[in-house]
Each structure stands twice: as C-alpha cells, then as structure tokens.
Assembly symmetry: C2
Homo-oligomer: 160 residues x 2
DNA sequence: CTGTGACTTGAAGCGCGGTTCAAGTCAAGG
DNA sequence: CCTTGACTTGAACCGCGCTTCAAGTCACAG
C-alpha cells in the first residue's frame, strides 16, 4: 500500500497537466501530496479524479479560488450552497449561449454570404432575446493555435 | 440620417461595455467608428448588434483575435471555415461539460455529504468517459463576487 | 474669450493562471 | 565516494483582456 503512490511526473503525464501547474494548485489549496519521497511529492492515485474534476470545473468557468472553496465545502455551508445553485443557473445561460454560438458557427461554416457575419440567417441567430450577454462578470477563453497556421487567416490589423 | 450616430458614451451605456473597452476593440479591429464629431467617436446604431455578437463570442470562449478574424471572414476563406466547423464541434464538448457541471452543482447544492465533493453521486457525475477534460488549450473564467462576502466561505489557505 | 467637462491619445498597470528560471537538494547508480 | 538527473524552492516573467493614468483636444455655455 505504501507503494501505490504516484510521482509528480506520473501524475503530470496522466492528468495532462504540467508539474508546475500541480505545484501551483497545491499552493492554492486545490490538492495536496500524500507525502514525500525525499523531496519529491508523492500523490495518492485518486488525485487523478480530483484533477479531472478540477479541469472540468476550470473549463466550466470556475476560478481557482472558487474551486478551492467548493472542494472544502460541507453541507452546512449554506452560503456556498446557495452560490452553487446560482452557478448552476448561470451555467444554464452559458449552455444556451454556447448552443447559439455553435449553431451560428455551423451555419457560417457553410454559408455563402460576403462577409459571413453579414448573413441575415447568421445575424438572426444573435438578434433575439436574452442569453446573449453573460451576466456581468463572466467569461471564458480559448487559446488559438500558436501551432498550425490558423494564426493568420484574415490578415487582421496586426497592430501591436 | 446624419444624426442617427451614437456617441461613445451612449454606446458604452447601451452595450454595457466600458468606453475603454470600445477603444480597445477598435484598436484590435473588432469595431470601427463611423466618423468623428470633433475628436469624439460616432458610431452607427448597428454597432450594438455587433457588440452583442462580440460579447456572445467572448463568453463562448473566443479570444479577441479569433473574433477579429471571424468578423472579416468571407466564404472563400476555407481555412477559417474549417476552423469554424471545428470550433462548433468543440462547443459541443463544452456544452456537454457545462451540462455535467450544472448537474453536479445542482446535486451538491442539496446533498448532505461531508465534504460535498466526497459524495459518491457527485463523484459519479465526473467519473465517466470523455467530455471531462477540454481539448488542450481551452478554458474559461468567472470572476467571483468581490462584492458580497462570498469571498470567504471556506477559509481557504489564504496564502499569497 | 474663458471655462467646463467629456472626450482623445499612448503608455503603464492589473488580475488571473500559469510557465520559466536560477539555485539548491536528494536517491540511486557506478 | 562522486556524478547524474529529476525533482525542490521562491521569484520573475508571460499573455490576455482590459482599466487607469497623465496629458492633451475639442464643442459648447456663459
């Protein structure tokens, strides 16, 4: 049982996270190592599930600080639970927005309008009611290629 | 017709964006002013729709640079269109992940496990197959309160 | 003509989520 | 024993998406 522990490198590889990210998460209280082998962190195997949850939460729009709070939450923490319920509702909106965006993109990828954003069908997707703008303070990002040459499709101003 | 133009302050108010953000978007090529009144930018009313689209795209995980490219895209830009289709597929995954997270949160907000993250039902939500980790390079964020005292629910390490 | 005050600019700064770096430590192999 | 090399640390740095700041310009009121 003493030997079921995972080295940080192994955790990094299996989780897809950089070792530096693991140390960063530890500093922020998201994870903890089960002990050390010399200087080296040793993790219990179930750290991987925790990391999977963290990754899911991160990509769902939670900050590191939020996740840290969620991870130590107990049933009597009513405020946090209220916040969870609120977050669940926010996620509904996010889902609606993403669905719109997906539909819009899907159309744009096959539409013949010049330029694409001027297509009436496309615009209609974004014209309607709520679910367009996120509740204040709420966003996301996706790093674009950096690899692969998608970085220069439209010859954007390129200023700065 | 010459008087249907909007002042930057008006656009800011109606769009919910800060004037600085509008200037920033202009610098990045996302928007353009229709002209100037003295020094002041004057915008055509339909800028608001464009901004709504931009906000939706931003909150769907697109970077400023991506949006800039999308906004100038034409039907013959096959690479970009391929990327759009790919993005649409990624959004499917995002939606699946958000849906999971929503369900997990919804359960956690009414569950009696101590601590909440150890609830088997909750864990099961995140245990299964794909749709857990985002395709590499892909994330989002949500600023937490800052207002309202949610900032200290679990007395997290507080280091740093 | 003289404020006033909302805009203009470029440059610097900020918060987040890490990565990178220099310098140090340790276990294992030869 | 000494080397090797993967880990350790704290601190510095980075990219993104803005915001803030100092200094300047302009339209309009009085």
């Amino acid at each position: 049982m003493v030997e079921s522990l995972l080295d940080i490198a192994e955790v990094a590889e299996r989780s897809g996270l950089a070792p530096s990210a693991l140390r960063f998460y530890e500093k922020r209280g998201l994870i903890a190592s089960a002990g050390r082998n010399g200087l080296r962190r040793a993790y219990q195997p179930d750290i991987l599930k925790r990391l999977a949850f963290i990754a899911c939460a991160r990509s769902s729009g939670f900050t590191i600080a939020e996740i840290a709070r969620f991870l130590v939450a107990t049933p009597d923490d009513t405020k946090l639970r209220a916040r969870m319920a609120e977050k669940a509702r926010e996620l509904e909106e996010d889902i609606a927005r993403l669905t719109r965006m997906r539909d819009g993109l899907h159309h744009a990828s096959t539409c013949m309008h010049e330029p694409l954003v001027e297509c009436p069908d496309f615009k209609r997707t974004f014209e309607n009611p709520a679910t367009l703008t996120p509740s204040p303070g709420h966003w996301q990002r996706t790093a674009f290629p950096a690899e692969g040459d998608l970085s220069r499709p439209g010859e954007v101003p390129a200023n700065l």
